[in-house]
């Protein structure tokens, strides 16, 4: 098995993310499984940012623990990340930029001094070229073949040709050579492990998924970590035939999306918790007016502005309760880009089938980090049906007709004889208001009850139409993790770490957070020896949902709300504690 992690750190504006992405992409091109972790701050220049590409011949689900190579563009990076370097690892830096006293070189690590600035000067006066030299050095130490890294580097310039690309290629070769000489030992090159893999962020997977699902309209207001959904679709707008509207605020964004859906296209909006808070009223309108809608809620650390560039799973309560009154909704919680792609396809199907808002719960950790996906894992639906399919029935048309499953035939503007008024007020089957002169009158009191029942009945349908919880791992595991969303990744990696220590553990996975599949969850939980809840928030919001829905309190809990994603090792430590302590 090959497993290697390369970390690049410096200040914002240093080009860290692009160096890191080239490393991650190179691993993916060799057919390795990759997790690319992009850690940044809410500044455009300065501060401390880092990117790590972790690759393995086995599946990797998180940033993992520690790394093999650190390329430090400034002394802070060496200081912060030095201790993470594993035994036999390397610390790459340019002694012209800063010096590290010998006693500060991490134990077990080798310092590799690479004159990145001097190499850059051989080609140009632009110091940014130093990154190519550092990239070459780090790549050699990580076992990446020079031609692989140079291919990814050249491709990162797109169609641009000429001396800029040549300088980069030259500088990377020079850095590669210097590292080879300085390493003190031959680092074997990683052999291709299979066909090249796709490297995508969760948001890219969601954006591709939306287009593949037939979404024709996205309205969004910029907000980290949801913005890159808009960026991908905007960049590909004409190619994929999706209108992308940057709205004046999130109120407009969701209302535009609702209007477009009413007008006859599959539509979506995406935001983070702050923007979602503004969308709440309109979300209820989509529920009341029975309009299909997909909303991506990519969580970040709250409350309020919180830590805008850091992750958290703190908006579950908000997503569950968003909106006055009650209306049906579903919340899907993928954990990995490939799951995000599939959940997006499913969200559009569910929204249309059940004519109600479907929430896609993501977070910064899933939305903005990279992971590999096998090309075959992403297939595009062959037929995305037209929405103009309602059979006209003229004067008898009832937009909100009572039906067995609560879903009524929906006409679209432009269809003759099927006009109706979509109302946010309570209404009758025809769509006529019962909020003004009829409300409180006995006949219409009963009508209100029927209409509420009709809408809420869709929850039963949604429960049946969404993926139930399942057990990953053996039924007789010593310990079963309970988690949701992106945290599943680190838990999966922790399970592997535990297995290496001869502990058999399993995961109770809940791809659908709501409607909660209580009976299925309880059945699986009942068979577990010990249960440990892992989620990235303060109060254990998923645990609370489980209690509310089943009366079952997951006995052991691991919460994290420092803005950082879970590291497999901290989950392992907690799990060992639970295993040793006893108690169910």
């Amino acid at each position: 098995m090959v497993e290697v992690a390369v970390r690049v750190g410096g200040a914002a504006g240093d080009g860290i993310a692009s160096v890191g992405e080239i490393v991650a992409k190179s691993f993916a091109r060799l057919g390795l499984h990759v997790f690319g972790h992009n850690a940044y701050q809410s500044v455009i220049r300065g501060g401390h940012v880092w990117f790590q590409g972790r690759a393995s011949t086995e599946r990797v689900y998180s940033q993992g623990d520690g790394c093999d190579v650190v390329y430090a563009l400034n002394p802070e990076t060496a200081e912060i990340h030095g201790p993470s370097i594993k035994q036999g690892g390397f610390l790459v830096y340019d002694p012209e930029k800063f010096t590290i006293p010998d006693d500060r070189i991490p134990v077990g690590a080798t310092a590799i001094k690479v004159p990145t600035l001097a190499i850059a000067r051989k080609f140009t006066s632009q110091s940014i070229l130093q990154n190519a030299a550092g990239l070459g050095a780090a790549s050699y130490l990580a076992g990446l073949p020079l031609e692989t890294i140079q291919g990814a580097l050249a491709d990162s310039f797109g169609k641009k040709k000429g001396e800029i690309v040549e300088w980069n290629i030259g500088a990377s070769a020079e850095g590669y050579r210097v590292a080879r000489e300085a390493a003190g030992r031959e680092i074997p090159a990683i052999a291709p492990a299979g066909p090249p893999k796709l490297l995508m962020t969760g948001n890219q997977a969601i954006a591709v998924g939306a287009a593949a699902a037939g979404c024709k309209f996205l309205a969004q207001y910029p907000m980290t970590p949801a913005s890159t959904i808009m960026h991908w679709l905007a960049a590909h707008s004409r190619e994929v035939g999706v209108v992308v509207k940057q709205a004046e605020d999130e109120l407009a964004a969701i209302n535009m999306a609702i209007g477009a859906s009413f007008g006859g296209v599959r539509s979506m909006t995406a935001t983070s918790g702050g923007g979602f808070s503004l969308m709440v009223e309109a979300l209820g309108m989509a529920g009341m007016s029975e309009i299909p809608l997909v909303v991506v809620e990519s969580q970040r650390s709250g409350p309020s502005t919180g830590l805008p560039t850091k992750t958290e799973q703190g908006d579950l309560n908000l997503m569950l309760g968003a909106g006055q009154g009650e209306f049906p909704r579903a919340i899907l919680a993928p954990s990995h880009p490939v799951e995000a792609y599939r959940a997006t396809l499913r969200a559009f199907e569910l929204a249309e089938e059940w004519q109600t808002p479907i929430l896609l719960a993501s977070d910064l950790h899933l939305s903005e980090n990279f992971a590999t996906v096998d090309r075959g894992e992403i297939t595009f639906p062959t037929e995305v049906s037209s929405l103009f399919t309602v059979t006209p029935n003229g004067h008898d048309y009832l937009r909100y007709a009572y039906t067995a499953n609560g879903v009524s035939p929906r006409s679209l503007p432009g269809q003759a004889g099927l006009q109706y008024v979509s109302g946010s007020d309570e209404h009758d089957e025809k769509g006529h208001l019962i909020s003004d002169t009829k409300s409180g009158v006995p006949l219409w009191v009963a009508e209100r009850t029927k209409m509420m029942n009709k809408r809420m009945h869709k929850l039963d349908g949604l429960r049946g139409a969404t993926a139930p919880p399942y057990l990953e791992g053996p039924a007789d595991a010593e310990l079963t993790f309970v988690t949701w969303g992106s945290t599943l990744g680190a838990v999966r990696d922790a399970v592997k770490l535990l297995a290496a220590r001869s502990h058999v553990t399993s995961i109770l996975v809940s791809p659908t957070v709501y409607p909660f599949h209580g009976a299925e969850f309880l059945a699986l939980a009942a068979g577990a020896k010990k249960l440990l809840l892992v989620e990235a928030n303060y109060s254990g919001q998923f645990g609370r949902l489980i209690r509310a829905e089943t009366g079952f309190d997951v006995p052991h809990k691991l919460m994290k709300f420092d803005g950082e994603p879970f590291y497999p090792m901290e989950i392992l430590q907690k799990a060992l504690g639970v295993l040793i302590d006893g108690g169910k």
Partner: protein, 299 residues
């Protein structure tokens, strides 16, 4: 909903279809309310243009006037407070073959929804926005609105309003609206004409109608307006002259101009949004089937 992937031609094209008229719901406005004139004017305008009722969408927010879509036999969207315009924009972009009219009151459009008002105009979305401006909150029983005049005593301002009112006409001119008009519920014929021309206008058409509230606004009454209104065209106003339009927009007091303040031609948002060049979005192909090469960039 499963079905054929081929988007059928709009049902009924080429046949005689019902034009816009009254719906089977009777207005619930107070007797004498200015909004009766507005719904009549909207109906007249659409009838005159012979647009079949199924190709019209009337979108509104919340408030007395926002009930309007229920009283017309077209498609309607009775949304939430202040959001008529973004909903209407979404409808328009989903299917720009439709005639989209947004309606609502002064609280809805110039208070809670004022941000959308400005942005819809700068985009020059091709829709018609008809506001029923009664300078008061009616449905919530009489609080000050963004267009209530200085000093007006209301339930929320018992000693009188102490803020300057919004001037919707001036705001529209400043925001880049390409058709700016004011109507008055005391003159349905003029109002219908203004709305009709607004609908045929290519771009954002704003028609602010002074539509008196007979219950909660005892100052800006029908009579109050009748004593003050004069018609811009009769006064020789040139609606292509933005400076003249600005100057007329400032008139409010003894004399209140009605009619067309300003009109100009500019590309609409729909003209400039390249994806819409292939026809109404709702009738374009959807999905990525056969386009697997799009994944190459992730390799």
């Amino acid at each position: 909903m499963a079905g054929s992937s081929t988007a059928a031609a709009p049902a009924g094209v080429g046949t005689l279809l019902p034009l816009v008229g009254k719906s089977d719901t009777k207005p619930t406005w107070c007797p004498g309310c200015g909004d009766y004139s507005v719904v009549a004017a909207v109906e007249m305008a659409l009838k005159k243009l012979k647009i079949p009722s199924h190709e019209v969408v009337i979108v509104s927010g919340i408030g007395c006037s926002s009930n309007l879509p229920h009283f017309v036999n077209s498609y309607g969207f009775h949304g939430i407070h202040g959001r008529a315009l973004p909903i209407a924009e979404g409808v328009r972009w989903a299917n720009h073959g439709l005639t989209v009219i947004a309606t609502g009151g002064d609280g809805d459009g110039f208070g809670i929804g004022c941000g959308h008002f400005v942005h819809a105009m700068r985009r020059n979305v091709d829709l018609t926005y008809v506001t029923m401006n009664n300078q008061i909150y009616g449905l919530t029983t009489g609080q000050a609105s963004p267009t209530s005049m200085m000093g007006q005593k209301t339930k929320s301002t018992p000693t009188g309003v102490i803020e300057n009112p919004i001037d919707p006409i001036a705001l529209a001119l400043a925001s880049g609206a390409t058709y700016v008009a004011r109507g008055f519920s005391g003159d349905v014929k003029q109002m219908a004409e203004l709305i009709q021309n607004g609908i045929t206008h290519k771009g954002f058409a704003f028609v602010d109608t002074m539509s008196p509230c007979v219950t909660y606004n005892k100052i800006n009454t029908f009579d109050w307006f009748r004593q003050r209104v004069y018609k811009l065209d009769a006064a020789g106003h040139d609606p292509t002259d933005i400076v003249a339009a600005w100057s007329r927009s400032l008139e409010w007091g003894d004399k209140i101009p009605t009619g067309l303040f300003y009109r100009t031609e500019k590309p609409t948002y729909e003209d400039l949004e390249e994806v819409l060049a292939a026809g109404p979005l709702a009738r374009q192909p959807a999905g990525l089937s056969g386009r697997e090469s799009i994944l190459d960039e992730f390799l």
